[in-house]
Structures are given as C-alpha cells and as structure tokens.
C-alpha cells in the first residue's frame, strides 16, 4: 500500500491486483494485466471509474468473447460491480454483445470502432462541459456588469479574458474531431 502517485511515476507497473490468474496460460494473464493497467491508468482522464476501465481491459485483452462470469472471475469484483460496469460500457457503446446460440449466456467483445468511442467521449465529456460553461459565463458577464464602482471595468475585463479562452477551446473541439476522423480505420 505504497501511496504511489500514478501521475508522477511515469509508466511504473501498477498491478492493481486486479487480474486474477486462474489456470490460464502465463502469456494470456500477462497480456491481460498489461491491458487492464493501460485502461485503468487512463480511466481518470476519460472520466470512468477504474473498475469499469478494468472490465473493459479484460474484454479487450481476450481474443475470444468473454462471459459475465469470466469477467467477474478475472477482475475479482462482485457480481453487482460487474453488472454495473457492463451497463456503463454498453451505454458507451464500448462493447459488442455476441449471442452464442446454444448457450443462454451473453458474451462480450470490444467494439473496435474506437472512433465512435472517441467521438462520444469528446461530445459527452468535453462538449457538455464547454456548453454549460458558456451559459455560466454569459451569466457571469451580466453579474459583473451589475458591479458598482470603478472595479467593474477590471472585472468585466477578467470575464472577457475567460470568455476568450473558453471560445478558443470551443473552437478547438470541432477541429479535433475532424483531425481524429482523418486517416481513420
């Protein structure tokens, strides 16, 4: 329980103890661990709980579709967490469900159309934030304008600056979207 800051220590192996081996080949477990670590590390930035990232990692790391039970065993989470995590991932469109005929259990495989995932991420997390910020900034400007005395000018100035940056960020998003679209696949 060394308080390892995941940001400062660049690329130090995390091994959150998340991936349980269970009579599987070493190579497979190793690979899974590494993939899970990769996604878990990105979780915070992407705005998903680490457990969800771990589940996605397990699915992503398996060459064959995995079942609910597989996941629960491998990440060693409770059924409840797995269910919850899978719901989030389905809502994000991060998984494909593969119905194997002769079996009742649903199987999961990563949706490798990462482009959509990226797009959703941008729209949900960034666009939303910026839009809400825009409304707030408009309000801010009004409030500043109601400010008495000579300080008003300074405050309006500050708000304006904020707005300029906000606008820049907003202008950047469509560019990013376009850029990421290019040379797709």
């Amino acid at each position: 329980m060394l308080g390892m800051s995941s940001v400062t220590a660049a690329a130090a192996p995390v091994d959150s103890g998340l991936v349980r081996a269970a009579g599987r080949a070493v190579a497979q477990v190793d690979f899974e661990s590494a993939v899970v670590d990769f996604f878990v590390e990105a979780a915070d930035l992407l705005g998903v709980p680490k457990s969800v990232a771990a589940i996605y990692g397990v699915v992503f790391a398996s060459p064959v579709p995995v079942s609910f039970a597989d996941i629960a065993v491998r990440v060693n989470f409770s059924k409840g967490s797995v269910s919850q995590g899978l719901r989030i991932l389905r809502e994000m469109g991060a998984l494909k469900e593969v119905s194997i005929e002769a079996d009742r259990a649903e199987l999961f495989t990563p949706d490798l159309e990462l482009r959509q995932l990226m797009q959703r991420f941008i729209e949900q997390r960034l666009q939303r934030q910026l839009d809400s910020g825009r409304v707030r900034l408009a309000g801010l400007k009004k409030t500043a304008a109601a400010f008495p005395g000579p300080a008003q000018k300074e405050l309006l100035q500050r708000v304006k600056k904020l707005q300029q940056w906000h606008d820049k960020a907003r202008a950047l998003l469509p560019m990013a979207k376009t850029f990421l679209k290019l040379s797709g696949r």
Copy 2:
C-alpha cells in the same frame, strides 16, 4: 441534499454554499458566487480538487488582492485547506503574490496570463498521460507478441489500433498548443 448531478443538469446554479457573505455588497457576493461556481464546475475536468478551484474563484472574483484570511472567511474552509490550496495554486502559477509594504500579510491576485496556465495544464495533465501511455503500449505490443497460437494475430491487431489512436491524440496536442497560442492576449 438533492443529489444533483452537475453533469446532467446543464448550467443549473450550483451554489455549493461555498461563498460566505460578510457584510459585503450584494453585487460583489453574487459575482463571487458565480465565479466560484464556474471554476468549481470545471475543477474535475481540469484535475484539481474543488476546494482549490473555489479558492481560485475567490481570488479571481476580487477586483482587489485578497489575503489569506479573506479567502478563509469567504470560502469557509479551514486554515489548513486554504494553505494547501494556495500552495497548489502557486505551484500552478495561477496566482501572483502582491506584497503590500506596510502590512505583514501577503496578498493574492490571479495571474491573468491564462495562456501559461493552459499550457501547463496541457503539458502536465495530457502530455504526461500520453507519454506514460506510450511506454505502456510498447510493452503491450511485446507481451502480445509473446502470445501463443492463432489468437496472437488478433491481439496484435487490437494493440495496433490502440496505438493508432494514441498516436493521433499525441499528434493533436502540439496542434492544440499552437492553435491556442494564436491570437493570444
């Protein structure tokens, strides 16, 4: 204590109860509240604790430099939190310290060179993340290559896709930096 999700409810006033009035003009308190709310809402995305965002909000909203004590009163945090928050903000270069001669107390004012703040944000939070991810991905590829059987091909494929997106994101950062630099001020 209505569990208001700050994400879903676009631009609903948050009023975290953070800003305490204290015989100040209504306009001033109103403005401060709005500014604090603005920064607090952005806190998560920017990767700072909300308390820190609130402190910055108070400093930003004040037309005159504010003291340590001012801040503590207005956000109603403990001295410890204010001290901690100010340290973070100083490290980020978000504040300027104004030493008023005849008084012992240090005063704070926002550093309005937001450009540097943005740049630091990009470098610290995004660049770091991406760099660490790059290292991890390289490892991943190796591990995948050690994978036995016909599944190897599929896994290498997946890792490659991941890498492509990662590279795109990395390519985007310098562009963003440049873009944000343009038409500065």
